[in-house]
Point group: C2
Chain length 351, copies 2
């Protein structure tokens, strides 16, 4: 089983997943995605994955063809779903057993599908699957936080090219979520306003809307003022909400269109780059009898969002040694570029 260990200086948990790789030689060759015929995620190959956890199906039996979205456990999970969560000290250090969930959301039965070419209705089904799995995992008292991410192409960490995303449920609140929660809490305590809402409002209210890439009735895509990576974007719901699972079907469809827009722009305008997408939502707020939890109590100050960034630049010594980044493309230029097809005038792409 994996072990979770905490770096005591920077307060960061690390998953030591020693079963995943063994000898140094295992790292030498990059994983080659298998040819379409042998892909375990393709329709008809259901027997080659672990048994499914969930699927959107029209009446066909589990682990058979006839599905639209399918969720299976990761074959090489970073954390184990079975086992007791045991926290322990190790001298001055902290560790816990590596329990958690690691699932794969197979987004389509078709190997060559991709978000920009799927229907918005189908993308909404994927989003609904994210919500369904998150809700289910939150009922497990061991899990405190859920992260959903999509690695597109090998350079972004994908080992299979069949369209898929992943979900990891964690027995702790990860570092980045803590930082964002603490910021949101401090701001709210001070002003009784959401820091994310205020920043979104500032971007939308500027006469030039220089960093606004796209906006519909429910979502806005921003080129962040202090973007770390060229052409990175953040997607925010316009209405304050801490948790993405609360979306109704109209909102899911609006998000589907939003994702379709930006990933289509990446494909068309940036030559189909590798990218990472992460969905960042509030921690589990289901009350645990006898265990009131600080992070749950401040979860409502959060404003859920999606971050996406193409993998165009290298993260190197400067970034690893400082936590700062060098972005060679001004966010305003990136926004201008990514808006291009939608409209020639910056304001007109609000519908």
């Amino acid at each position: 089983m994996s072990e979770l260990r905490k770096d005591p200086i920077v307060d960061r948990w690390v998953i030591i997943a020693a079963e995943r790789g063994h000898r140094p030689s295992d790292f030498k060759a990059p994983t080659e995605p298998p040819k379409s015929g042998g892909c375990p995620f393709c329709e008809g190959n259901e027997a080659t994955t672990p048994p499914e956890i969930y699927a959107v199906r029209d009446g066909s039996p589990p682990n058979s063809p006839g599905w639209q979205v399918r969720v299976v456990p990761n074959k090489f999970p970073a954390l184990a779903i079975e086992g007791k969560l045991i926290r322990s000290g190790f001298g001055r250090l902290d560790r816990m057993t590596g329990v958690g969930a690691h699932e794969v959301i197979i987004e389509s039965p078709n190997h060559s599908d991709d978000i920009p070419t799927m229907s918005a209705d189908h993308i909404a089904l994927i989003l609904d699957t994210y919500a369904h799995r998150t809700n289910d995992l939150r009922r497990d008292e061991r899990f405190r936080h859920t992260i959903i991410f999509r690695n597109y192409k090998g350079e972004a960490g994908a080992s299979l090219s069949h369209p898929h995303s992943q979900l990891i449920a964690l027995p702790f609140i990860p570092k980045l979520a803590r930082e964002k929660l603490v910021s949101a809490r401090e701001y709210y305590q001070n002003k009784e306003r959401c820091i994310f809402c205020d920043l979104i409002e500032q971007e939308l209210n500027m006469p030039e809307q220089e960093r606004v890439i796209y906006c519909n009735d429910y979502f806005v895509i921003l080129s962040p003022f202090a973007a770390r990576f060229p052409f990175s974007v953040e997607i925010y719901p316009l209405q304050h909400h801490h948790d993405f699972v609360a979306m109704d079907s109209t909102t899911q469809l609006a998000l589907a269109e939003t994702l379709q827009f930006i990933l289509g722009q990446y494909k068309d305008l940036l030559a189909d780059p590798a990218y990472n997408m992460t969905l960042q939502t509030a921690p589990n707020t289901i009350p645990r009898p006898g265990h009131p939890d600080y992070w749950s109590s401040i979860a409502y100050d959060y404003h859920w969002h999606i971050e996406i960034f193409p993998r165009l630049t290298k993260v190197a010594g400067f970034e690893w040694g400082t936590g700062c980044y060098i972005n060679p493309v001004a966010p305003e230029k990136a926004a201008q570029y990514l808006r291009a097809k939608a409209s020639s005038s910056p304001g007109a792409n609000e519908q």
Copy 2:
């Protein structure tokens, strides 16, 4: 000129270096290192770099052959050495002018030199050059922090293969340094002991020394308990000191031998992988009349160190979305592997 912008949610400065890259097509092809003959860092090609800032020479004039280590400004600096540091607000956001220093330390006149094959005396000269440049830049009141890093091979971000490292002086204390300083300060306030010293002591005092890779009279190489990356290492001076520039020549030579050992092990045992090395030291403590600075005041709680990690795994959606990491090699196994040649029994490599 570059601009520094702050992400208000996670409190992170980003360098928007818009001159470095322009159009999306600029990112498509990776930089090809030029052939040895045309390398601007080779002896004899001094005229192809900006004029040198510093060099270790035996009497030859600047910008001519006859040097052992040479420091030049980065031709594509992330920050500009000229200009006034101006901080300003932008609605709810923060920015400042992109002033700083960005220098290249050319480590040898010979294109094919590398740390494992250089003499320890020569490596000590490089370390002394780091200290010399850092001391010089600290006299500039605009600069608060210095980071030195070495990107080895293209996958780790190096655009030239000639052995070199880089130094960036910053007008702020970067996020990672702040986190480490705050940890060290809180621990010291609580215990009047250094958190780094205590953690090093714990590793050295365990009967098995499972995570100790190498130790001499002055330095220890540890495989960190919560290592983020397989085969990553941290090098600590055994004697508490906040600042690497204080090393005397004996200590510099001991560090040279330490680096030679671990980078030699990487080369021999991990098939010469790309790696990043960062030297992390305390912020500038030179007092500014009329501007007492919090970070300077807690700098003495720091314990300087070096982090090195081979680039064997991909950082992907999970890591970017959580700030947590998945390490597929247990730190104890990594230590055992990296000790291998030095000794067959874990305890015997202490000299």
